[in-house]
């Protein structure tokens, strides 16, 4: 559920990201397109303005020339011819400029060449007229009537020129207005598009944020669910552990009561057997003392009974009760050990195992066996006496079941495995058949050739203790060349007990 959520989250976010990128790209390209278009509009507008200005300058040149002509006629000073010369030069230049620039506006589509040529032609006629007038005036053959006529003609020409100029200027003005309007429209469109883009980005960002929030919520929910499951699991484990511990307690109590109650009748059997023995002694003494007929078959039978039958029966009763007594005692001992309150303390396992080895060193010497602790044993927090019992039992077993005619090699090693400590006791003895791997840990059960004394208690005890220490014991053997007992216990019994009690 978590994974599909993540997939969907990534999918949504990618989609939103792609959407955002497309919108941004669109805004940027629109901005480029519109700015390019605005540039064109601006250029065209400038060109139209220039044409407008050139028309004005063109006319102004004519006016300057006219003014200079008038000044010269009135003052007859050569100095007035100077502006005329300047205006003449300027006029030629402006005429050429006007022709050129007018053709540029809207690639010549806006202003036709005819009105421009007309204007230039009119201007030229006017300029020529001024030149003609000035030349005539200078040589003196300039009648006042002639002059009046020339001035009139000049005025009429000037009006025509102004009209022709106005036509061109109108066209230029309309181009400028159209371009300005286009620019304004483009700017408005761009603004609209940017606003739209911004709005879309806001929408996308909001969407992404919402998706993220939902995703975070999902993760949170999943985590909570996981925690719930975890808690449920923990409580289930706790319940199971409690149930197992209860069953174990019940079994221990049961074993205690049974062994306890079995002992009461056994004491009677043993007690009255003793009584019977002492009575028999008296009876025997009496039968022997009282003579009688040697041929009496009853006397012979009585003698056989007191000498053989009764002692034999009593002997069997005694050995059986003794055996039963010791078995009951062992069960009691086991059940007591099971009920004993554990006392977990930090333990130096190396010295603990060494002590166990020392305590049965005599056995090793007798059996010709050698014990070696391999490497460093991991330290634990556990019950000292239970561990001593476990190692003494295992080491004792290892020495007991060595192979004849071969020096015994017993190795103890240990390691940590997460929360547990694992110890191994390995020997090179006679081994254990695989079919007996579980059986040997059962109470009163033994395996292999029954040539050594024992009750079948030690390993049952070892298993019970290992389990109480939060682990277990198991065996590994090929059935021929040795046996390895593997004891697992909790590394820290306080922690383990705390967890079960909590």
């Amino acid at each position: 559920m978590l994974r599909s959520g993540t997939g969907r989250f990534i999918g949504y976010n990618l989609l939103l990201l792609a959407g955002g990128a497309v919108v941004l790209l669109m805004i940027v390209s629109a901005a480029f397109i519109f700015s390019a278009r605005s540039q064109v509009h601006a250029t065209e507008s400038l060109r139209a303005a220039r044409v407008d200005r050139l028309v004005l300058e063109f006319i102004s040149d004519l006016v300057d020339a006219e003014t200079a002509q008038r000044g010269f006629i009135i003052t007859r000073k050569e100095a007035y011819l100077e502006p005329y010369e300047a205006a003449l030069g300027q006029f030629a230049k402006d005429s050429a400029d006007l022709r050129l620039r007018a053709a540029e506006v809207d690639e010549g589509k806006a202003i036709a060449p005819e009105p421009v040529e007309e204007l230039i032609k009119l201007g030229q006629v006017r300029m020529d007229l001024i030149g003609h007038n000035l030349a005539n005036f200078r040589v003196g053959n300039f009648e006042s009537t002639q002059m009046v006529a020339a001035l009139d003609r000049g005025r009429i020409l000037m009006d025509q020129i102004r009209q022709a100029g106005a036509v061109i200027r109108d066209v230029a003005a309309s181009v400028r207005i159209a371009r300005a309007a286009a620019m304004r429209d483009a700017a408005t469109l761009l603004t609209t598009m940017i606003s739209l883009g911004v709005a879309m980005i806001v929408v996308l960002t909001t969407g992404a944020t919402l998706v993220m929030i939902r995703h975070v919520k999902e993760i949170d929910e999943a985590r909570r669910e996981l925690m719930d499951i975890n808690q449920e699991l923990e409580s289930r484990v706790r319940e199971r552990t409690e149930a197992v511990m209860r069953t174990n307690d019940e079994l221990q109590r049961y074993a205690y009561i049974v062994s306890h109650d079995l002992r009461a009748p056994l004491v009677n059997i043993m007690g009255f057997t003793s009584e019977l023995e002492s009575s028999t002694e008296q009876l025997t003494a009496y039968v022997r003392r009282v003579g009688g007929d040697a041929d009496d078959p009853d006397r012979a039978d009585a003698l056989i009974a007191v000498d053989e039958d009764i002692p034999e029966a009593l002997g069997f009763i005694r050995s059986s009760t003794t055996r039963m007594d010791s078995l009951i005692n062992e069960i009691l001992k086991l059940s007591r050990a099971g009920r004993r309150v554990l006392d977990p303390v930090p333990l130096d396992m190396h010295s603990l195992v060494s002590e166990c080895v020392d305590s049965i060193r005599q056995r090793f010497a007798e059996a010709g066996a050698e014990v070696r602790i391999e490497g460093r044993l991991p330290d634990v927090v556990s019950d000292r006496s239970a561990l001593q019992q476990i190692f003494t039992n295992l080491l004792d077993n290892a020495t007991k079941y060595l192979k004849g005619g071969q020096p015994g090699q017993i190795v103890v090693r240990g390691r940590l495995d997460r929360g547990t400590a694992v110890f191994e006791v390995e020997d090179n003895g006679r081994g254990i058949a695989e079919t007996d791997f579980e059986r040997i840990f059962e109470l009163f059960r033994r395996a292999g050739t029954q040539d050594k004394p024992g009750d079948g208690i030690g390993l049952a005890h070892t298993r019970m203790l290992s389990r109480r220490l939060g682990g277990d014991v198991c065996v590994k053997s090929d059935g021929e060349t040795g046996t390895t007992f593997i004891v697992t216990i909790a590394r820290d019994l306080v922690l383990r007990m705390g967890r079960n009690e909590a």
Binding site: H260, R263, A264, V267, N268, M270, G271, S274, E275
Partner: protein, 148 residues
């Protein structure tokens, strides 16, 4: 004990007949000749010790010593001990708890309730017989208070 004007009776409360018999035999072997009165359950023992009315008046002028087993079919020896020690007429009667239980808390509890001696029945018969005989020797020199 024989110096007492009235001989002390040994009240044995033990549900196991065999045990009762073995205890009696071994006490006798120690030379104790006092009367031994046996009870197989708590009810009959209580009605003897405190009287049928259970006031304890029946105990006056009847010096006795109680040998008590804790595991009884109808009540625990602890109940009997409590009631004996709570009654003003029987509270000075010595009580020897003779039982199989060796639980430390149980022993403490019995002494708290006023038991005079606590003996755990040994696991094997030889030591059991030996312990009873020594108890018999102990009983033969023990002074029992006069009840009134």
């Amino acid at each position: 004990m024989s110096k007492e004007p009235k001989p002390v009776a040994i009240i044995m409360i033990e549900d196991d007949e065999g045990h009762a018999r073995l205890i009696e035999k071994n006490i006798r072997r120690a030379g104790v000749t006092n009367e031994i009165i046996s009870f197989r359950n708590g009810t009959s023992a209580i009605s003897y010790l405190l009287g049928a009315d259970e006031t304890g008046l029946a105990a006056i002028g009847r010096p006795s010593l109680v040998l008590l087993d804790l595991n009884l079919p109808d009540m625990t020896g602890i109940d009997i001990l409590t009631r004996l020690k709570a009654n003003e007429h029987t509270r000075r009667t010595p009580v020897i708890v003779l039982t199989t239980t060796d639980d430390a808390r149980e022993i403490q509890r019995c002494y708290d309730l006023g038991a005079n001696v606590y003996i755990t029945k040994p696991l094997n018969y030889e030591s059991f017989a030996n312990a009873i005989r020594q108890l018999g020797l102990f009983l033969s020199v023990m002074q029992i208070p006069e009840l009134n």
